[in-house]
């Protein structure tokens, strides 16, 4: 299950981000939602630049 740690965080982050932006109609909702939605992109960028060691 350890393999699914990061994937689960990113999955929930993007889904909650999308829904928060849609349902919470104020600046706070927009900003928090966008931040959550951007997290997978940020993680992709981070790991593309610095590759972790191959094995666990």
């Amino acid at each position: 299950m350890k393999t699914y740690g990061w994937p689960l965080v990113l999955f929930l982050s993007s889904v909650i981000g999308l829904v928060t932006m849609l349902l919470v109609e104020n600046d706070l909702g927009d900003n928090v939602g966008l931040l959550l939605l951007v997290l997978p992109l940020a993680v992709l960028a981070r790991y593309s630049l610095v590759t972790p060691p191959a094995s666990r």
Binding site: T3, F11, S13, V15, L18, L22, L34, L41, S55
Partner: protein, 380 residues
Amino acid sequence: MKPTTTRKLLAWHRWCGLIVSLNVALFAITGVLLIFHEEIDDMLGVLPESSGGDNTTTLAQAIAIAREGTPGSTALWASRDPDKPHLGYVGVAPGGSTLFADSKPVAVDLVEGKRVENLDFDKTFSSIVFQLHAQLLMGPAGALLVGVIGLAFLFSLVSGAILYGPMMVRFSFGLLRRERSLRALVADVHKFVGIATLGWNIVVVLTGILLSIGNMLLQYYAATELQALASRLGTSEVVTDWSNVDRAIEHAEATSQGRELQFVALPGSEYASPSHYAIILHGKSGLDKSMLTLALADARNPDAVQHHDFPLYLQALMLAQPLHFGDYGGYPLKIVWSLFSLLSLLMAVSGAWITLSARKQREQRKRSAIVDEPLPEATP
């Protein structure tokens, strides 16, 4: 998971992914264009700018103007442009047709009181891109095909997420093996991008599948609940005098707690009763802007308006629209949406490349095995 199950699932994932990869690439590219369709339309000058001044033409007059230019036609719906208030649109269909699918939108300049010439909405760049994205240029049947492709893509996503576990069990998250072969690197990129964008992809694919059957859901609603409402309201005689449509809209808006006109289906059309305007209203901001409600106004007495909510399945359809197109959070969301779309394009292309190159490698191995095999010795 048993190794044989993993192998079978991987084979299904590869083939399913390969079959839908071209379509997913097409959806990603057209999707990015559609995210910016308003900006593209503005840049191409699709809609004329206002000549200035107040609107002097009512929607009832706009309907008459639109029909004048198309003799023998009937009008099925009308609306006002929320971003360009000097423009009104009228859906005009060949005489006798009540189907929205048969209608063509005609733009009317509400300041100058004349039809906008040389504007065919079916031939604008955004419209062609939309038809390609939503129907593969094949009409309503194409929408169903898009739905089937969406289901296959959903299977690829879910099976990919299941396979991610056994494949990555010995490796770190985010691993990109740059020092190994090109295929190993592309496979790592495919797995990494696929798992990181899974949430966004699942939401967009599920809403896309729902939107692909949107027309069917609308037709089902028109044939059941709307029909029942119409028969409860009485007459079957079609009212053809629409001169009071503006009064009906005004009254519907005034009694709807600040909602505004999306469009009005005229009496006799498939989405209205024979003697009532079906006035579709939207909220002013946020989620409420996407959630539509129905006001039925008597075409003989426009002050008699009844408000109705749409059933849950149509509300789900309305909710799917912003979640699929990402048009509810301004420019920041549009940019993030485009990046996710381009990543799904990368995922589709890399997946197809891995499957095809693995197949090529297997065939090469088979060929070299045949060459290396010693010839059977001749028997005396």
